[in-house]
Amino acid sequence: MSSSYVPGLEGVVASQTAISMVDGENGRLVYQGYVIADLAEQMSFEEVAFLLWEGRLPNRSELDALSLELTNHRTLTQAANVTLDALPMDTDPMDVLRSVVSVQSVEHKLAKPTVPLAIHATASFPTILAMFFRRQNGLAPLKPRADLGHAANYLYMMNGKEASPEIVRALNTYLVLLADHGMNASTFTARVIASTESDLGSSLVGAIGALKGPAHGGAPSAVIEQLEIIGAADDAEKHMREMRRRKEKFMGFGHRVYRVYDPRAKILKEMCRRMNPKFYELAERVEEIALRILHEEHPERPQSTNVEFYSAGVLQAIGLPKEYFTPTFAAARVAGWSAHVLEQAGHNRIIRPQSEYIGPEPRKPIPLGERS
């Protein structure tokens, strides 16, 4: 009953889900029935996290209860604090996040994934990132502020001062936009882990490891680095054509699912235009050239600016250092990861595909002394 090998499992349905749908044909991202454009600038991250976990938007008292539970779990355990301090100052923040989330979520006895555990994990991500950021910069750690929402508290714990409402709104929108995205590689990792009946912390740690890869979440900082190089060139187009001759990739382009403009990129592009005009001016020019060159190379492929391209400009305008772009992506996606783990645990079957053996036919081993 084994089917033939599908590289990258492209087009293979690995799960049924009611959490989010990426409608690549029509350029729609849907969370529990709501189109992302209807949520992005109207809802708080907390409301969207509730939506992903519970399948519906919260009413006022449910939202208050969730906010309280989140603020009550913004501190780290003692072991997590020690781990955070034991890691070298120049550690990749994604490795810090992977390690500290791992220690923060340890248990004595295997626990089933629950919504409260998802809330606690989600609450801890900004604290871990902000504490490490401040340590790297020789700044004293700050206590979380219970009077601030999720996005505002993250920025406060990083910077030691309250961010402007515009900046808080922008980060909130970013977190909402990135909170879930169908069966992406890190979410799929989380579900594979959950499928063995492992715990929620294990799923999240695995997902962080997957998100770290440049083919997934690890590229937004590379967008900025590439734009800086192109921006410094006398002739951007000439430089970019040379890059392609050297087989270099344009960062922030290409997606397996969308056939039309990524709806998240559209919203982020507009935010970027408002908030980061300098970045926008260069980015828009580079986007136009990149799409033109990519179209010349592969006219059959669709237009492909992805979410990372303009999110780099938005996160920069928010004031986050580029090493914290991917970790901030994780701070958004943790809501989706944990929602998927809860869903997987609800109708579980171990995810155990097959492989096709391409090695030699069976033969006998030669004893050690006789091997050449």
């Binding site: 084994s2 889900t17 849907v30 992977r98 997957a210 995810i351 097959q354 069976p362």
Partner: protein, 372 residues
Amino acid sequence: MADFSPGLEGVVAAETAVSEVDGANGRLIYRGGYLIEDLVPVVSYEEVAYLLWNGELPNEKELDALRQQMASARALNKSARGTLTAMDPATDPMDTLRTVVSAQGAAKSLMKPTLEEAVALTAVFPTIVGAIQRRRQGKEIVEPRADLGHSANLLWMMTGEEPSAEKVHWVDSYLVLLADHGLNASTFAARVVASTGSDLTSCVVGAIATLKGPAHGGATLAARTMLDKIGSADNAEKWLTEAHARHERFSGFGHRVYRTYDPRAKILREMAQSANPELAKTAGRTEEVALRILHEAHPDRPNATNVDFWASVVLTGAGIPKELFTTIFATSRVAGWTAHVLESMSDLRLIRPASRWVGPQPGKKPLQLTKR
């Protein structure tokens, strides 16, 4: 779009030469084409690790070089030591392993997986597992011994005593038998993480997280726990009949791939008779009764004793406490995980399956908070 196959059963997700599970004929083939029953009597764990990584068994010189390389990579770095000592000794051993491996591999910048790193990671597992056991007992951590092989050093670090040749043989055989097993869930998780371009530590941490689940690596502990409940050969009939009437699953039975007796279970069953005759007697009677009950209930299903069942007896005989079984499994499988990741590097393609939407019809408009 393809049909949904729950658990990706029967879906080919990778091509591999690292190992092949030939379920129809009850054969496990390791890289190079060697049958597991041909390898166990003649090779050490280090030789099998070399085989899985390099595609051929080492000669004496190559084996010496690998042993030296592993012996010199057994120490924990400062981050890992700091993390380990911060953790409550009563923490689930798999959580400690996951966290300490994550800290040990925390790096400044993203590195492509290398063979050297695979060797170093594999070498450090016994150090962590040994320390976990010593801390659980409230004893001092034992330093690694460069004059001992992988398995002997593992037992040395757990007990602080030089192990008998027999115990080393049982543990080493177990490590050889469990080192790889096709595209099992943890190996698949490692390959999904690798497919994003992430680092080797992230892959291995994700695999540990997956192995922790009772439906995967946790099954050895579950088998031993069931044998403890049964208590004696005389009680097997009564206990299993009652458990079956309560619709309890028998631990140590059932596997998705094998249609005949698992070849690893066969070898371990034999070894169990000398490793722990008393427990082997209980296990033997348990197996007999369990298979009879299962056959009566499902005459269509194949004979189904799995590797976990007899592994639990052999590991007990080697003096390993059952709470550490899954970490010993991981200590073996890390060779396979890293071999799969290294293999996938040659043709890296993002593993990103699709999902099927089963949620509400897209496009419903969100209500304002006050109207919910």
